[in-house]
Symmetry: C2
Subunit: 700 residues, 2 copies
């Protein structure tokens, strides 16, 4: 699954660091901005011209899951469709030992039965405004990296604060093309989100880790929520109607969603850095967490229930990154990248003015990579919190830092504590999502052990461990902390520095102990890596514009993008893989694996086998250019009707982080027809199916 959960790419972000921008466009390539759609390509290749109404409607019917993923409005009554795996985190949080909604599914027969999600924020992009000039004006060439970083942070915060005060909308300044362009995105925010329907995990994630990122597939990876305003289902103007037939082989389709991160603009040296440094480190970490969570989970069914969403996320990242590394270790990819880089450098070098303006970009990037090598491990351990895994430390750090940061004017604060982000921060911090002490101890114990492995000689390590073994220290910290109690969090949050200073909570004391060093390394990282890399890539982006023109799309940044492509099969090891699977194939696929987990079907699917039309299309692949974060994106036809929902990319698509290809890389979707068939025939959810298809009639 291609979910771009924040957990997943909180880590990713630090390795990706600064995203690239702009590439030349071939075939169905591109994650396009809604205010800069690929009109020309669409017209030339497909004879289709999207109108601004078409684009505006699709944009406003698209939903971002701030927990990491995409979705769409599919009825006038605030019904939202996304993937089961995007919702998994939330399903896990509302589950208990008695009611395991993640595994067993859920269906609210009436709005009154809908279950309120914990700390889930949905965003709808309402407007885009170009603020490039204003941001650039605040940063001058004479500034040091530290000054530039601060000045940029400050102006971005000012713009956001102004916009929030003026419009009441969540306002984010988004960096595109690495400083080539800054856009102000305004979002309508929904925080009262309720669960309407989820299938069982065994059909949503049928085939589990073995089938993940593979094709053919047979997954009903869907989930429905409803957004509320003032305790009533929200009325939404823009929602997608449901296609009567769905899509067929060869059809042109569109994907509107939030691809997380791509690194297509990266220099060859940067890709080598990823291949030889970042990826091995992160993969070791992911394998470590996978084994840890798996061994914890296997001890009992309740343990597995507590750990499984984390575990899915980790396994998913591991498989995705292994695919990415395989791409980076393929000499063909590097040869192509090198050829492209050589071409661009030659163009730049051939023009003295361009050479002066942009010629140093590659070396500038290389310098930041050298700096990163010396900082990155400690940055991960201390600032990104790899050495202090679990909810307790994360809560403690927010409380400690907020107490300090809230004394400063908003633009001077660490960015996550800026005023415009306060509501989102509190949503997470005061969530009553369950926190399990035993799992917290396991995670924290292992990460303290990792701290000791990686920084055995550091004085800080010894202070953190306080003369105990990692496991004993973790148990002591978790058992004596009161941060599980939301009221205690609120007390410390509201009490500010005085409350934090007076607190004897061992977790608060740990967060304080670590903070100086963590801030120091963060500053070092920002000044020696992040900011100079941003400036170097801004140069590189301009070099691209200068040579190739500006008809290009920026690297993904978890902001709304439009992709397009065709429903289309592919060749693999001499065999042709058809674009579509059918519901009937699910049973054969299960039987082929002895019906054993993770190829076991839910009882309901076995019981209803004969009610289902086996020829109903189930999953399909297309050439659309997607990546993690696109999970849950609606797939629409030229009429803007839902024909499916993205839930994965195939194994060949994992290289799309670095370069587009449509030879074998494919996006994987659930077909709209399978959703209706399953709702009606398997789940007796005619109410929901009617709501979806009523929408279809109404909008035409």
């Amino acid at each position: 699954m291609i979910r771009g959960s924040f957990r997943g790419w909180a880590v990713a972000a630090a390795w990706g660091i600064i995203m690239g921008a702009t590439l030349q466009v071939h075939s169905d390539e591109g994650m396009w901005l809604f205010n800069q759609p690929p009109v020309k390509v669409l017209k030339e290749r497909y004879g289709f011209e999207p109108t601004s109404e078409w684009l505006n409607h699709l944009q406003r019917a698209s939903v971002r899951f701030n927990s990491g993923g995409s979705g769409s409005f599919v009825s006038p009554n605030g019904l939202v469709m996304t993937n089961h795996h995007v919702a998994a985190d939330m399903l896990q949080k509302i589950s208990t030992e008695q009611n395991n909604y993640l595994n067993n599914g859920f269906h609210a027969k009436h709005p009154s039965e809908e279950i309120k999600a914990k700390d889930l924020e949905l965003n709808v992009l309402m407007s885009i405004e170009d603020v490039t000039a204003r941001v650039n004006a605040a940063v001058t060439a004479s500034m040091s990296p530290a000054e530039a970083f601060a000045a940029r942070r400050k102006i971005m915060d000012e713009i956001e604060k102004e916009s929030l005060e003026k419009t009441g909308l969540r306002s984010d300044v988004v960096t595109l093309y690495q400083g080539g362009v800054y856009h102000l995105y305004r979002f309508k925010k929904y925080t009262d989100v309720r669960l309407v329907f989820a299938p069982e995990k065994d059909i949503a994630f049928f085939g589990g880790d073995p089938d993940n990122f593979e094709y053919p597939r047979f997954c009903l990876d869907i989930c429905f929520f409803r957004v509320y305003e003032n305790d009533q289902p929200a009325k939404v103007e823009h929602y997608l109607s449901w296609s009567k037939e769905g899509c067929a082989d060869g059809d042109l389709i569109f994907v509107s969603g939030h691809p997380g991160r791509t690194s297509r603009m990266y220099t060859v040296a940067h890709l080598e850095y990823l291949r030889d440094h970042s990826m091995p480190f992160i993969l070791n970490y992911l394998r470590r967490m996978e084994v840890l969570l798996k061994t914890y989970g296997e001890r009992s069914e309740e343990n597995m229930r507590r750990a499984q969403d984390d575990l899915f996320g980790i396994q998913n990242s591991r498989k995705a990154r292994l695919g990415g590394l395989a791409g980076l270790q393929d000499p063909v990819l590097f040869k192509n990248k090198r050829t492209a880089e050589d071409f661009l450098r030659k163009q730049i070098d051939s023009d003295p003015k361009m050479r002066e303006q942009y010629g140093s970009a590659w070396d500038d990037v290389a310098k930041t990579l050298e700096a990163a090598k010396g900082i990155i491990r400690d940055y991960h351990l201390l600032e990104r919190g790899l050495a202090f895994q679990g909810d307790h430390f994360s809560i403690a750090r927010h409380l400690v830092r907020y107490a300090e940061e809230s004394n400063k004017p908003s633009p001077d604060r660490l960015r996550e504590y800026r005023l415009s982000n306060l509501e989102s921060l509190k949503l997470g911090l005061f969530s009553d999502a369950p926190v399990y002490d035993d799992l917290e101890i396991v995670k924290l114990g292992d990460s303290l052990s990792m701290l000791m492995e990686m920084m055995p000689q550091a004085e800080l390590t010894h202070k953190v461990l306080d003369g105990k073994s990692p496991k004993a220290r973790a148990a002591e910290l978790i058992r004596h902390s009161k941060l599980k109690d939301v009221a205690e969090r609120k007390r410390l949050f509201d009490g500010g520095s005085a409350a934090i200073d007076a607190s004897n909570d061992p977790m608060i004391k740990l967060a304080k102990l670590v903070d100086d060093e963590a801030r120091r390394i963060r500053k070092q990282f920002e000044e020696q890596v992040e900011e100079p890399q941003r400036q170097a890539y801004a140069k590189l982006a301009k070099a691209h514009f200068a040579v190739f023109g500006d008809k290009v799309y920026p690297d993904a940044t978890f902001t709304l993008r439009l992709a397009f492509g065709q429903v289309k099969g592919y060749e693999e090891e001499g065999r042709f893989i058809s674009a579509m699977t059918q519901l009937g194939g699910t049973y054969e696929h299960s039987a082929k694996h002895g019906g054993k987990d993770p190829f076991k079907l839910p009882q309901r699917w076995i019981d209803r086998k004969h009610a289902i039309n086996p020829r109903t299309p189930f999953n399909f692949v297309s050439t659309a250019d997607i990546i993690g974060g696109n999970s849950g994106s609606p797939v629409v036809n030229t009429k803007g009707e839902v024909v499916g929902i993205i839930f994965d990319g195939n194994i060949h698509s994992l290289v799309l982080d670095y370069a587009f290809t449509d030879v074998q890389a494919r996006a994987v979707s659930v077909h709209s027809a399978a959703i209706i068939e399953a709702l009606r025939k398997v789940y007796d959810a005619n109410d929901l199916a009617d709501e979806l298809t009523r929408g279809q009639a109404a909008s035409r």
Copy 2:
């Protein structure tokens, strides 16, 4: 499980490198040499004096599994008892997609049905001879490390060759107390070994990875073989008779087996090296293999059958090493080690003569650790073969090296190609154990990827990959190699250098390509780490002898040792854990976990539930000092009768690598009574039960 499979500790050995020796003895501590038994301690603590007949009988009834493990003769007709998990490798090798003996068990109702094992060698220790003087005489103080290394190798080879020629017995010179003592061990060798009985994996390894190294336990971790000579069951003079009652709480028991490796003599600096360098590296590697094999295995049942023995071994090592690392990360262990080291150094420093002779030992060790840090990664990748996992490369390397080494006189050869080891080498090399191309590609592909991660800039890496991605290169190598064919291996072996030079087999060419660099790094390792470390620990051993006298046991070296202890429970988190479990508890333990894998019982155990006496003792713990390699060791009472069989240590015992403790550390055994009860009531194996208990009557 505490198995010390060669695979497991081929890796371990390189990290442990040179084993320690000698410690002061407290309580039931000690892995004693049979020619230096703990007579005084036994008499003082337990009022028991073993006679030399008692010792000789037990020694000759003990069996070493060269695949890594222990066992014993339990009938006059060559019947050998060991653990299911010691036999797992072999059970996997004789299994097919149709007959999965590893999972489903096996029972030969008649000798004609017994299945011949593939490349399994059993050794029985016939005699011990002290050759210290002769070895030491060959190495002089003026020699460089390289010269000393060669001289020692040469004299050991001479002694072994002489002994082999004289006695026809397998002859190994064993280094004990790190050059304090060299013993010549002569073994009777059995290579016609046939499977008699194995239970189902689900009861042998009941509770799987979650229960591994835990207690209370409910495992029938047993397996029976029979050794043959001249196609007839071998008549053995020394075999263990079966105790009528088995052991009870508080009983004195003995364990005769082959503990693999301990590092109790290591200096504090050396333990820090293990904690901060070796263990993190090896654990990353084990987690990597675990995730790789697990994801391969989960794709289908047949895949899992192919991978599962490897996977068990890896998971077992991972859990054991995590326990070991936890011990090393416990500041209490280091405090104790430091106190002991300070005491010894003070004693040595207080005597000018001792100071001159032994005083530099600690610094000498430290120097080798510094050297190791610069070599060890490449040594593992290239010489230990971590970069070329799978049977193909291992076979190719042996063929390439044998062709070269066989042109030299035996003492000048790399040690594994010495004449006295030739038969054992050929047994493995010409084994017709199945080799699965798909699994070979997965393993080799991943290890080539690891090579690229760890040595991305090395010229050798590029030569190895030959312009392809790791996966593509692995597939090409495996698909085009003919080494799966045993006849081809024989042809190349017999053809010597000419055949190797003429071979176009890509695997042979790869082994040749890597060989210069691998030999170079091996030589560097031997000269800068192995040999000076051996000399430093020899000094340290002598310092120990000088201060504490010689009533001490050497660190484990996978040679026969005698341990003793009491059947005895322990406290854990405020709860008392009884020494014994009962057969009836098995069903409760399964039910508590919903009867799901790995807590699923074999159908036969469910069907026969009411036939079994639920009060029969099943597993028990004792204070005996054991470690990996002791798996399958017979547990005997003062009469030398079988009362059980070792199969594991509890979680607290994992620190025994570094220091003995009997506060919570326990050895875990299957009780003799449970074996008979299960054979008769569950498996209808009265023939086998009769053979075991007939032996009991006959020997008294």
